[in-house]
């Protein structure tokens, strides 16, 4: 991460992701980018805009509406020696591809004892907050973090998005790259009734124009604190920051960034220091990633804990449309948990 010498410019998360693909298409002739609407048009969220014009339709192209086909062809391309970067238009649509992801991409190296591998990055927008209802709002990360052989990554800001996406593309394992779509254009903190803050007003919106990586399996402490550790990722990092600010609780907020394999040491060090922990994610609670994080903290930090660990999550219902803000674990719910855990 030698970024000091690199020229930077303000970028939204969309621009940062596009820049990562641009950098890697230029650096590595084995990188190809494809998915539904990603070619001429540049993707429904415009993450690949201009890339086909720049690199041609042999490197950047449209795919049929078939998530299983998109990932299945990527397995074959990876086995040939390419590094496909594919887009699933919404994480909610990834399920037809799960056999190719779980049974094929994740296990090819293992089952062939390294004879074949299929490096690939599977990008997909996730999370709610855009009135997307139950088919455009899901956070399915726990489906992937449970699968051996996959890496699952979820950035919370443009700087990390670009550095992590480059690291994912260069990684030799298949990577699920989840993009919280509510953060594409600004650091949304859950206050849906307040004006949107642009990334240009956020320090992590200043992004190097060229090549750099943010290493996988490394969390980031976004706010040091002493009273309680908050483990969060994606949109919930900004929600947690708002909750700490508004509640006055001196929370140490950790942005997980790599969901699995993860940076256990950073989590354990922090929780041992604060003795308290709140885990926040937008996904449903039961069997969510929070359950695993909670188990790990119990296994590694039990004798340092001063209070029960709490989870603040989406409810165990499909993501509703009109009731979105009652579903979304916003700053008020997180702040209440911070109060409970620090006062326990």
């Amino acid at each position: 991460m030698t970024t000091n010498t690199l020229k930077t410019s303000p970028m939204t998360m969309i621009q940062a992701l596009r820049s990562a693909m641009d950098v890697m298409l230029a650096r590595d002739p084995n990188v190809v980018v494809y998915g539904q609407d990603v070619g001429y048009f540049g993707g429904v969220f415009r993450c690949t805009e201009g890339l086909q014009a720049k690199y041609g339709n042999q490197r950047v192209f449209d795919a049929p509406i078939s998530e299983g086909g998109i990932v299945g062809t990527a397995v074959g391309m990876g086995a040939y020696g390419l590094r496909p970067v594919v887009e699933i238009q919404f994480a909610d649509y990834v399920y037809p591809a799960t056999d190719q992801i779980v049974s094929e991409a994740a296990r090819l190296r293992y089952r062939s004892a390294g004879d074949f591998t299929c490096p690939m990055t599977i990008r997909m927008p996730c999370g709610g907050g855009i009135y997307g209802g139950q088919t455009h709002s899901q956070s399915p990360e726990a489906i992937f973090t449970q699968v051996c052989g996959l890496r699952t990554v979820l950035p919370s800001n443009p700087y990390d998005a670009k550095g992590l996406l480059i690291a994912a593309i260069e990684n030799d394992d298949p990577v699920i790259f989840l993009e919280p779509k509510r953060l594409y254009n600004g650091p949304f903190d859950g206050h849906h009734d307040q004006p949107v803050v642009p990334w240009s007003k956020h320090p992590q919106g200043e992004v190097p124009e060229g090549y750099y990586t943010v290493p996988l399996e490394r969390a980031r402490i976004t706010r040091p604190g002493a009273a309680v550790t908050v483990i969060a990722y994606g949109t919930m990092v900004h929600v947690a920051e708002a909750a700490a600010r508004e509640s006055g609780v001196d929370a140490e907020i950790i942005d997980l960034r790599s969901l699995w394999p993860l940076d256990l040491d950073t989590l354990v060090t922090s929780v041992k220091k604060t003795g308290r922990c709140v885990i926040v994610h937008e996904a449903t609670r039961t069997n969510g990633l929070g359950a695993e994080l909670l188990s790990l903290m119990q296994e590694h930090c039990f004798y340092h804990l001063e209070a029960p660990i709490e989870r603040v999550t989406g409810w165990d219902t499909p993501y509703p449309h009109a009731q979105e803000w009652a579903y979304f674990p916003g700053p008020a719910r997180v702040a209440a948990a911070l109060k409970r855990v620090t006062e326990a």
Binding site: P64, S66, G68, G76, M77, Y80, S103, E217
Partner: protein
């Protein structure tokens, strides 16, 4: 208006079941030599008739007839016959080894040898097959075949190239153009298309060859594979081995009734051939045609190979429970080894004596390979793998949590 009968669910049934013979008239056949051979650049739609016909070269007298009769020298013919005999001998010996509990499970390709063996002789260096579990002939036909490694894989022993992680027969051999077998059905078809797309993206000249059985064509990945192959004109061959049975399920349950599996390709705009899979010469000729078409940027070909699974699905299966015992003997396309043998004898380049001599040779080769493989153990004698290897190759570099778990196991 005539009075309608109440609706009734149509559940296809085979014509034969244990105790009564199959009526093989359900299989549309064509006479040997009767079907035209279009040029390899033919528009896909102009092959539609061939998707409903049956391309055959060897007639009942063992003569090679018609436009598909390949230019193939006697040396290659003998090599093909020997490869089929080796494959059958390998299967026979491995079946016994499975009964001796030296492996947990085995799958033979009895009766289907011509397809993979002829294809292996047609395919080029650097091409990649994406096989199912019944294409061991692709490996055994190669001049660099390694029966010892194959048997070590079957035994999951200390020299198993798959390190004991895979069921027997789930081979992988990149250097021999043989993609790792999944065990999940149909997944490899779309992967083969992706591999072929990569070859095209890179301006390469390599062709992918996907394999699937009649039963698994019902999976979405098969249809998705056809769509992607057509859309990107991928240099790929999609081989559908229609051996009539998916475990106990007759091919009509996979959608073969009143149509053909080759017709799936025609419907997707892919050149499609339906070929006598027990006819070594037709198998070689059709493979060559499709390879040349793919390599020349004319796009994919679907080949339905009509054959018969003469043995059980696997060592865990008992076909006497669901099909007539005499089915394989009555199958109208005969036995592939007997048919090629008859042809070579008719050509005057083979004899019963030579056949017996080669039979003994291939049996001895298999026995020698088996003996060598058993030096590294079998599943029965607990030549356990290094258990620590269980944690390797999950990721390229072992993450911390797997290092902790390996330590926890004490491995």
């Amino acid at each position: 208006m005539p009075q309608r009968k109440p609706l009734h669910l149509h559940v296809p049934e085979p014509t034969g079941r244990p105790g009564h013979d199959t009526n093989f008239s359900y299989l549309p056949l064509s006479a040997a030599g009767a079907k035209r051979r279009p040029p390899v650049d033919v528009p896909a739609a102009q092959t539609n008739d061939l998707a409903f016909a049956l391309i055959r070269v060897l007639d009942d007298q063992g003569q090679a007839v018609g436009p598909w009769a390949p230019q193939i020298d006697s040396k290659l013919l003998k090599r093909g016959l020997r490869a089929m005999m080796l494959t059958r001998a390998f299967d026979a010996r491995m079946l016994i080894a499975q009964r001796q509990k030296k492996m947990s499970f085995y799958m033979q390709c009895l009766g289907e040898e011509a397809i993979a063996c002829a294809h292996a002789l047609a395919i080029g260096d650097g091409d990649m097959c994406f096989p199912t579990y019944r294409q061991q002939g692709l490996l055994l036909t190669r001049e660099d075949n390694n029966m010892v490694d194959m048997i070590c894989q079957l035994y999951s022993n200390a020299r198993d190239p798959m390190k004991g992680r895979q069921l027997p027969v789930m081979y992988s051999s990149k250097k021999q153009g043989f993609f790792s077998i999944s065990g999940n059905l149909a997944t490899q078809v779309i992967q083969a298309v992706g591999w072929a797309m990569a070859s095209a993206i890179q301006g390469d000249d390599k062709v992918a060859s996907a394999w699937i059985g009649d039963g698994a064509t019902a999976e979405a990945d098969f249809h998705t594979g056809l769509t992607f192959a057509h859309v990107y004109r991928a240099p790929v061959i999609i081989n559908v081995v229609n051996n009539q049975w998916a475990i106990s399920t007759f091919q009509a349950i996979a959608g073969g009734e009143g149509t053909t599996f080759a017709a799936r390709g025609a419907g997707c705009g892919i050149a499609s051939l339906r070929v006598d899979g027990n006819d070594f010469l037709a198998a070689y000729a059709a493979s060559k045609w499709a390879l040349e078409r793919a390599r020349s940027s004319f796009g994919p070909t679907l080949i339905e190979w009509v054959t018969y699974r003469a043995g059980p699905h696997s060592t865990s299966d008992d076909p006497s429970k669901y099909r007539p015992a005499n089915d394989a003997a009555r199958f109208p396309l005969g036995d592939p080894i007997a048919r090629l043998k008859q042809h070579l004898i008719a050509l005057g380049i083979w004899s019963e004596e030579e056949h017996q001599k080669v039979q003994k040779e291939v049996e001895a080769e298999v026995a020698a390979a088996q003996k060598e493989a058993e030096k590294y153990g079998t599943l029965a004698d607990s030549h356990a793998q290094n258990i620590g290897e269980m944690f390797e190759d999950v990721y390229k570099d072992m993450p911390a949590h797997l290092q902790r778990q390996r330590a926890e196991l004490g491995a």
